[in-house]
Subunit: 205 residues, 2 copies
């Protein structure tokens, strides 16, 4: 398997391609080209062809890509042909927004449990899910075999909760806490911090 | 000016360095090294030295970086020595979370107006801000000279709202809508889509 050799920057673009292609499919489009997709995304067609070429031959010169086929392949590559159960830790404002977010649907993920440590939140329902005591995390997550989590706790708590999640079997964490989290080899962390993105804008503005 | 030649991937790491260094400073640390910072962030020290070398000489071999100085320089490079006023469009769950987010403080940004099109939301207060009718956007944003916006509207509305923002003078948009937005040359867009990040995790898990 050569997948370890594929640059992470290429991997980071695949979900964006998948999202755009899925939308084209939803709009009734059946075929696209790297030029068409590139114009839509503001990425060069050469870049798209090069990125996809890491994974095989997805289109024929001159006839473009069958969108349905490409979508299926990207879903397979990103391992989202099935739905992943995701544990959400933190039932504050960000946790609430995530629990109500309908953008997960049909894209490979569903939140299946919510934890918080605040007694006033534990036992309440958010979008149909009962908020559980975070102290139960180490029991419940292994029971359900959950390997993905979203972290929406304050910066100060993030590392400790991440450690617990990993001990419970979680191997991938999407963190909204504005702090770097240290994890052992083999655990994958992505971070969402609006300020990091805003600063990346102001550099250019 | 050679700034156009600096790879975007380098720029994308500067806010992460700034965040970590600011936290070190808050913890009372005064000096760091590329090794120390790299271990903290899971990035090689060579990478950090190389990234920073694009912008000048920030540390002396063997004595490390004066954190306060490096923080000031990074804030200047990213143009966050001052605070930017940001318009928020969309007062749904994500907009609410952003309006209440206290991670903006001291990092260069403050939300200074909130818009929505829902009559039941217009006129209500969110964290002290009155939600304004989105139809007023084209008047209010130029009046205040605002050039940055956050977009927390449904995918279907995102492009149209982005067009209006740009017409009103906005030059940078952080979008939470799970759709690609097309913008003219010179306008900078960053997107936050949790599914894109989750799929980047599942590829590796």
């Amino acid at each position: 398997m050569t997948s370890a050799a594929i640059p992470d920057i290429v991997i980071s673009r695949l979900p964006v391609y998948l999202r755009a292609l899925t939308r084209m499919l939803g709009d009734g489009q059946e075929v696209t080209s790297s030029k068409d997709l590139g114009e839509h995304l503001g990425i060069s067609s050469a870049q798209i062809r090069k990125d996809l070429s890491h994974f095989g031959e997805f289109g024929k010169q001159g006839t473009g890509y069958q969108i349905r086929f490409l979508v299926d392949q990207l879903r397979r590559i990103l391992k989202v042909e099935k739905e992943w159960d995701v544990a959400l830790v933190g039932a504050g404002a960000i946790g609430h927004a995530l629990a109500h977010y309908n953008g997960f649907r049909d894209r490979g993920f569903r939140i299946s449990m919510i934890f918080d440590k605040d007694p006033s939140k534990i036992g309440t329902l958010i979008n149909g899910f009962e908020v559980q005591n975070v102290s139960r995390l180490s029991d419940v997550i292994p029971q359900r075999g959950i390997t993905l989590a979203m972290l929406a706790v304050p910066a100060e708590a993030a590392q400790a909760v991440a450690n617990e999640l990993i001990k419970a079997g979680v191997r991938g964490i999407l963190s909204y806490a504005p702090i770097n989290i240290s994890v052992p080899e083999g655990i994958h962390v992505q971070q969402i911090d609006p300020v990091v993105h805003l600063q990346r804008i102001t550099y250019y503005v």
